[in-house]
């Protein structure tokens, strides 16, 4: 099927850049190069989110993934910069038949899955028109009234332009239906912060917090007495 128009043009551009950058992420032997290619994959996928009409998720993707998680990755690569290069490289891959076999198995699985998925989806999944008014019959009468009134106004009078209606809908349903998962996610983030701080402490910091096993403390003080001083 050949599509024309700007939407398919942008889909092809971003899909190709995402796949190529993902390929280079997997193939790069330097971890920093891998991280930079992963960043370009994430930005391309964020652009695809915009094409799908999910502007909020696209913004969160750029802010959280690219601005937060990937910067964290780059900082850790900087901290442990010894051994960022994979040892060996391309030619050593042939010495590991198990890994290559498993990869080929997954590729074949993908191929079979894609064939059946495309066959199924062409029959079952019809694209719904996603104009703003398409879900009016699903809304209650009150919401429909509000929507109608807003559509009658100029864009600036509603306070929401067309591009932010997705953010409004996601926010509304996040606080209406997803309150408990939202709170659980915040507790999870707190636990992750505490856990990563605890895990990444040095022995000296653990000793300063008086949080060492007795034998470790004896070993540490012995080292200091013998080696350093």
């Amino acid at each position: 099927m050949i599509l024309s128009g700007w939407e398919s043009f942008f889909f092809w551009v971003f899909a190709f850049s995402a796949v190529i950058a993902a390929l280079l992420t997997v193939m790069a032997s330097n971890a920093v190069h891998s991280a930079l290619f992963l960043i370009s994959t994430l930005v391309s996928v964020a652009a695809l989110f915009v094409l799908l009409g999910a502007e909020f998720i696209a913004g969160v993707q750029v802010l959280v993934y690219v601005g937060g998680v990937m910067v964290l990755f780059l900082f850790v690569i900087m901290l442990v910069n010894v051994g960022t290069e994979e040892r060996g490289g391309g030619e050593e891959l042939y010495n590991r038949p198990a890994q290559v076999g498993a990869s080929l198995f997954f590729c074949v699985l993908l191929f079979v899955g894609l064939i059946s998925a495309v066959n199924l989806s062409s029959a079952h999944f019809r694209a719904q028109p996603t104009t703003p008014g398409q879900s009016i019959e699903q809304m209650s009468a009150e919401q429909a009234l509000v929507r109608e009134t807003e559509q009658g106004m100029v864009a600036s009078a509603t306070g929401t332009s067309k591009i932010s209606s997705d953010t409004e809908r996601v926010g509304a349903s996040l606080y209406r239906y997803g309150g408990l998962p939202f709170e659980i996610a915040s507790v999870l983030l707190l636990v992750a912060i505490v856990g990563s701080v605890l895990l990444a402490r040095t022995a000296k910091q653990e000793a300063a917090a008086d949080d060492l096993a007795p034998e470790t403390r004896a070993e540490l003080s012995g080292d200091e007495a013998l080696g350093i001083k």
Binding site: A18, T41, I57, F73, C107, F125
Partner: protein, 100 residues
Amino acid sequence: MIPLSWYLTLSAVLFTLGVVGVITKRNAISMFMCIELMLNAVNLTFVSFSSYFGDVTGQLFVFIVMTVAAAEAAVGLGIIIAIFRNRETLDVDDASILKL
């Protein structure tokens, strides 16, 4: 309108690239980045279904998945730093102390 199957195909390709990366890489940080790639492919699936069915619940799932991915990255990188302090290497083949 782009067919849904194209987005699903792209997402499957990205996911498989992530799986292949996790299998073939031996640097722990590179493996983590491939896991992020897999999570992102799943997010693309969620968003495309959410967009094609006109339901924002899929985007809520993506929000939670992103939170979990951020938490996983923070804890995982803490573990990587702890392993690096003890062993001076990031090769996962060398971190085999639990092996029988």
